[in-house]
Symmetry: C2
Subunit: 613 residues, 2 copies
Amino acid sequence: MYEMSDTIPSRIDRLRELMAHEGITMYMIPDSDPHDSEYVGDHFKCREYMSGFTGSNGTLIVMRDMAGLWTDGRYFIQAERELEGSGITLFKMGEPDTPTIREFIRRNIHDGDVFAVDGRMITAKDGREYGETVRDCGGGIRADVDLVSRIWTTRPAMSAEPVTVISDEITGESVQSKISRVRDKMREHRSDAYVLSGLDDIMWLLNIRGRDIECTPVALSYVYMTMDETCLFLQDAAVTPEAKAHFDRNDISVLPYESFHEILKNKMPAEGKAENNGNTGHFRIMADLKATNYSVYDIIRSNVVDITNPTAEMEAVRNEVQMKNIREVYVRDSAVLTRFLYFVKTAMSRGEDLDEYSIAMKLDEMRSHIPGFMELSFPTISAYGANAAMMHYEATEDSHSRLEPEGMYLVDSGGQYLGGTTDVTRTIAVGPVTEEMKRDFTLVAVGMLRLADAVFLEGCTGRNLDILARGELWKRGVDYKCGTGHGVGYMLGVHTGPQGIRYRYVADRAEAVLKTGMTVSDEPGVYIEGRYGIRTENILEIRDVCVNSDGHFMGFAHLTYVPIDRDLIDTRYMEPHDIELLNSYHAAVRSNILPLIEDENEREWLIRATEAV
Amino acid sequence: MYEMSDTIPSRIDRLRELMAHEGITMYMIPDSDPHDSEYVGDHFKCREYMSGFTGSNGTLIVMRDMAGLWTDGRYFIQAERELEGSGITLFKMGEPDTPTIREFIRRNIHDGDVFAVDGRMITAKDGREYGETVRDCGGGIRADVDLVSRIWTTRPAMSAEPVTVISDEITGESVQSKISRVRDKMREHRSDAYVLSGLDDIMWLLNIRGRDIECTPVALSYVYMTMDETCLFLQDAAVTPEAKAHFDRNDISVLPYESFHEILKNKMPAEGKAENNGNTGHFRIMADLKATNYSVYDIIRSNVVDITNPTAEMEAVRNEVQMKNIREVYVRDSAVLTRFLYFVKTAMSRGEDLDEYSIAMKLDEMRSHIPGFMELSFPTISAYGANAAMMHYEATEDSHSRLEPEGMYLVDSGGQYLGGTTDVTRTIAVGPVTEEMKRDFTLVAVGMLRLADAVFLEGCTGRNLDILARGELWKRGVDYKCGTGHGVGYMLGVHTGPQGIRYRYVADRAEAVLKTGMTVSDEPGVYIEGRYGIRTENILEIRDVCVNSDGHFMGFAHLTYVPIDRDLIDTRYMEPHDIELLNSYHAAVRSNILPLIEDENEREWLIRATEAV
């Protein structure tokens, strides 16, 4: 596909030529699109094109005589492999000796140097922080430079798939009601306007979905709202007659996606005065600078009110209609994964020949028959043995392992359905396992079950609870280098916020208070490079427990119902209460899943797999 | 002592007359002194004088037709009793229906109203926030008004006790070394000067102690530092020849306490220029606005750099000399409390007549014989039965209960010693107890032991760990309305920061990352109004556990070694690991304390009290 000479080092060389020509000392290539999406369309995969690293999180920095890629703990092993021979140094984020990107800038930018980045591809928050650091060092920042387009001549066009309208029976809330709640927030912040660039937020607000990013049913778009108008910026090809009617019914003006920056500039008051909203002062425009790109920020900077997106907080709390749909979707999704685990365990015990890639394809195919299936919610992780130590390993047709009849196999997968987004991980024994594997597997299961068993008072965030999942591992000097849990979207991104289960304190980072109706993943693990990886992941919903004079107590309920491999459980590492939790979880798996399984062999296996230990 | 007419309502009436005369709508009387001390000298007890409420935390607000007192959960029961008949409404802070003081101001201040407070008695942070709220409502703020002095004609003079110098063998670090570390922080914040008004911070920095506040060995003082001078503001009577020599040796200029505000004004540059510190810009003065009073802030406001006091962070981490001293002090203090518990339990079992007050006196007397004893670290809480439900109950000569031969008795006490400050609580059975009491006591003990057993990674704060102490109570819908743990000073305030073990997320409130060498209390409880109170409190030190490729793991070690009453333990509420924790703690109590006890009966009792369950 590429010319022989089109290697990563040659692309970096060409970038250095352009940098020299433009007088740029340091060029940054972030991993995002203009909407701060976690996964991005092919058009936006500049960092992957320039570095060869395919993970979802990574930032490339190029200088005349060095190039470095920053990524997080999920990708250390994968990045090491993919960067081999590229001449790019891996910077392992969060390790004690690794400089942060800001620290790196501070050490390497000097008087008169120029730092450059495509301002559409970084958030306003990051852009402002980098800019501050650069200027502190006596350098200058340019955010209007896109050098990669000049190198990447075969760059794919932006996706422009048609949008779909989602009915109120699925969303549980009309567009009018959502817009009205958002306007209440605008009043609260005494704002005249609101700019939304997060795609999940826009899809949620307008009860639509798109197909512009793989695994995330979103359409490339922006929204600009005032107290009496709502403007949606969408590519022409995305607007179907059905969508047009929906927008008309809801008084939403549709404008071309490409004209967003120009129109936004025109919306900004020349005089800095507003007549709206009883607000006699300055024109105020709300935006979440953590989720708005730096180029948009540049337009609204004199008028911006920096907030946490109220839409993200609203989207995070499910209404009863959504919860009912989710519970049904999860049971169906769990039944398929259960049948898949039966298949793998049985085939392996019979000595059949399986490989990571083909069984991932099989699972994806099984899932595609579930009613309401739209697409996968992320590429299935199907990892045998040491491959499972790479948290986001992806087996491909060209590069995958065979399953040997020993050790463990990990599968992390999920789907986008009409009525919910799933995400589930199980690790199973596919042959004899060591005592150490059983110990680690048991401690991970204990952590998952203890977190799900927590009861907590209103006012807690994920940081209060993380230790329930990690505590037993920490007592043995073991940690996993990622969060314990993330929010899960509703027919949207599978990794969402604002809620999360993490442990590390970060000064000035807002944490989301946990609320009834939120969903969150619970996925502790053990990852031993070169040997094995274990992860057990359920999705939990937050529910009310009781309200009394001591406060409002909340807890979790499992949404995922898939057996936890009893072949890997060693009860010596469990307290009696942990054993009760496992047994009662398995009883619930049996009662929820058995009715959905017809095959007699599968039924018998499920009954055995959910017996009390 | 007072005239018949000198009642709380009559004092409030006189305040209202003065308010009317000054045109003040709302007058606030905080509970502090100019140094934001937790406990204050008698001279500063304005809120107590005006309201009759004697707790350590409370704010009185008076308007023409209402008066309200805000206090926290530790004091709800006590405040209800003490405010009876005063005409003052109790506002229970943290309860869902209670407005915060800011919300109350927002609802009750209207256009043209005047809000007034003595600006020396509130922190700059609070003063700025209240001022902002008042102005938002169209009101004005006056911070130069001290109306209470005009009512309180018998107000005691300020204390002015002589200061003592503490040797480096006790502090483990010289004044020069500390000043040099503080100047490094000044450089880091590019500051020319530093104002310190927290008394604990000043005592720590200058290796001195005072006697101006009961239970807290501090002297009323301020410090003003630049890169080449250190000015200490102290009352003349406090400066002994020994202290004078110490200050001279360390190049510390001593100036009169009363002249601090005037001299600070003169230190502020007229031109706003500094020549110090390689800093060519504005004159910058560091101060912690959470711990600096509003009147001082008023002087430095154009030049202030708001920081978290570096001295507080430095004071919180004990060096090895301090840790060695503390461990010795705690064992001696624990031995005395152990002997006291023996005395109470034995006397009660013999049917002797005991009362809360006289046995508190006895404990205080026993403690006073411990080598190095200086004074109590807080008034001993000696509470039988329902009185123990009041977290900070104090039995007095005139008002106390007799111990009946049933139920539980709680004692929370501590001392200030040369070499450490102690704080310990135990609850014991003094006769037959109910199943419910045993369950609650056991759950509290389990919480205390589990928190102490935690292992955690660098980057955790108390919020990560709190659920280990509260978790089993929360599962039963029970909470205690206070933090789980506070920092403990070193021959300083018994409740210090910045570290703490709390659960509630408060946006924008900085949390202190836990560090090796910090000490912290671990004191879960159950408080049932009108029935009983349980608290078990140990002080823990943070120690290194291991450093490996997964990170730097830390944990706790107990400093307190006092039996946990086995008569109140019900093992049905404990996991096997909880039982191990209790038994190994008791084994450590026995091995640490037995060598310090001579009396044969006490020894026999201790051996029984520390037997494995």
